[in-house]
């Protein structure tokens, strides 16, 4: 078995092999692989005995299930109204400048990807962003630089 098959089998063992376990399994693959390849979707379908079309249908619905390989650290900057009012664009510019990538892009070393997302539920501490599952709030140009500098060292 190759590593992806292994991963999928383990996830299916952990969560179960019915359709109701599909989302946690898809999430598990994305967490490890940083995206859902066509190959992983077909493998998941096989492991759960579902049609590949069903897996594909579910997998393409959710914005956190990526279909393009993302970097080790996926940055999602909130673009909804309060963050937009509180300087989200400036934060984006700094990130783009430091990482030399634009929205939707991944650094050539595969370490960072940059995306925007909708309200993260931290509007009282806007602007906010996620790096993987970690939340960063009340961002300022200085604090974003500091945060990214730390990640660049990792």
């Amino acid at each position: 078995m190759n590593p992806v098959q292994d991963l999928i089998k383990n996830l299916a063992d952990e969560h179960g092999r019915t359709r109701a376990n599909l989302l946690p399994i898809l999430q598990g693959v994305v967490e490890q692989e940083k995206y859902l390849s066509e190959y992983s979707m077909i493998e998941i379908a096989r492991e759960l005995n579902l049609s590949a079309a069903d897996v594909y249908g579910t997998a393409t619905f959710y914005s956190f299930l990526e279909h393009k390989k993302m970097g080790t650290y996926l940055i999602r900057v909130c673009k909804t109204i309060t963050c937009a009012m509180k300087g989200k664009n400036q934060i984006l510019l700094i990130i783009e400048d430091m990482l030399k990538i634009g929205l939707g892009e991944t650094t050539s070393d595969g370490k960072f990807s940059l995306l925007q997302t909708n309200c993260l539920g931290w509007c009282h501490k806007a602007p906010a962003m996620l790096i993987n599952d970690e939340v960063y709030t009340e961002l300022t140009p200085e604090s974003v630089r500091e945060i990214l500098t730390e990640y660049l060292k990792k």
């Binding site: 069903d54 579910t58 956190f64 909804t80 309060t82 009012m85 997302t117 309200c119 509007c123």
Partner: protein, 395 residues
């Protein structure tokens, strides 16, 4: 006619630490289910997720359903722009929510609870799982069968809609179902299910501990109790506040505004924008016989001062709806897109100002024909912004 003006009244139930929850749970589980339903009914607690359905009635209908298996689901999808209170409850007083779920299970006859937690709050999982483990252990000790599992969302606002939430938990696309049938008979896996918002569940703790009267005495007629408000935007004190229902928006702005408040968005992007001239006449609560306008809300209160362009605000909301529409029905999928293109075209001068009236008609159609609350409620913010700030849409 001038609306009643109610002073802003703070309350402090939700975040109050209750060290005796185990005793309260024991006591509550010894009361007959019907008595607990009556307690909830007489408190007049209404759902805090936005729709305001009476919680006691919801539990009663589900309790009466003959389903062989039933479920209790805590809706922690919290995706409405400007709402951030449910996360705070789950991090500060999670045991209240777990206890409420177990009591609901006891009342309706269910041994299985789920918390549908938005993926954006994944960082809460380890701590929450710890509390759940301790809680389940305690339930077992007192001989009560109830398990709780966290189900993580994956970045889809629509999954907060209860039937889309079921679909998502069943491993499908989060596309809302037709209603009826309602969750009280056909919910998760086609079984009778109670879906309650995190805050609603936390309020039931207060009611079971202190009695319905304590809760009922807060607020005003038709809008009883307190409610958490998520306050953000142009305000010197953004944050989460527990206030009694029934306050006038003017009192709210006096307390939270920055002295230059031009408008308040009540209820998030799917709610209403209230301009300054209507602050006095608007109260916050469920629709009832209050004079003036009464606006229900999941608690999102976004303040905008005079430096803000209402065009930019609407543009941002419409982008949100376009992205978050599940795309299942045409009025919503195409409607959101057309509204967004439409205001841009008017702004650019490619369409005459009268085109806005066409767009307003379109939102009326969406309100009538869209399948779920998302498509139906786009009209709320669209018409309240376009009608009150027409100039800003054009120039």
């Amino acid at each position: 006619m001038v609306a009643h003006s109610y002073q802003l009244k703070r309350a402090d139930f939700i975040f109050k630490n209750e060290n005796d929850w185990e005793r309260i749970l024991d006591k509550t589980l010894k009361r007959p289910p019907q008595e607990l339903i009556n307690e909830l009914m007489s408190s007049e607690l209404k759902g805090r997720g936005g729709a305001g359905f009476p919680t006691g009635l919801k539990w009663k209908l589900t309790a009466e359903d003959p389903s062989d298996e039933k479920f209790v689901i805590c809706n922690a999808d919290e995706g409405e722009p400007g709402t951030f209170k449910d996360r705070e409850i789950l991090s500060k007083v999670p045991y209240k929510v777990l206890m409420a779920m177990a009591v609901c299970g006891y009342v309706i006859g269910s041994q299985k609870g789920y918390i549908y937690l938005r993926g954006e709050y994944k960082f809460l999982v380890p701590e929450l799982n710890k509390v759940i483990q301790e809680f389940e252990y305690y339930c077992k000790q007192i001989g009560h069968q109830f398990s709780i599992k966290i189900f993580l969302g994956s970045g889809a606002y629509i999954c907060g809609e209860e039937t889309a939430l079921f679909e998502s938990m069943e491993g499908k696309r989060g596309e809302p179902r037709n209603k009826p049938p309602y969750p009280s008979s056909n919910g998760y896996m086609g079984k009778a299910t109670v879906v309650n918002n995190v805050e609603t569940l936390a309020h039931t703790f207060t009611i079971f501990k202190y009695g319905a009267k304590k809760f009922y005495d807060l607020g005003v007629q038709y809008s009883r109790g307190s409610k958490l408000f998520s306050v953000s935007g142009d305000t010197p004190k953004p944050g989460i506040y527990e206030l009694e229902l029934g306050m006038s928006l003017q009192d709210f702005v006096n307390e939270f505004g920055d002295g230059d408040t031009k408008a308040v968005q009540v209820g998030g992007a799917s709610g209403f924008l209230v301009p300054r001239k209507r602050f006095e006449k608007t109260t916050i609560g469920y629709r009832g016989k209050l004079t003036g306008i009464s606006l229900p809300t999941g608690g999102s209160m976004m303040l905008y001062n005079s430096s803000r362009s209402m065009y930019n605000v609407l543009d941002n909301y419409l982008e949100f709806f376009r992205e978050e529409s599940c795309g299942q029905c045409t009025p919503c999928r195409v409607g959101c897109q057309q509204l967004h293109f439409g205001i841009k075209a008017v702004k650019r001068g490619d369409k005459p100002a009268q085109y806005l009236d066409k767009l307003l008609k379109l939102t009326e159609t969406m309100q009538l024909t869209a399948k779920c609350g998302l498509g139906q409620s786009v009209a709320n913010s669209f018409s309240s912004i376009v009608e009150n700030f027409r100039e800003e849409m054009i120039y």
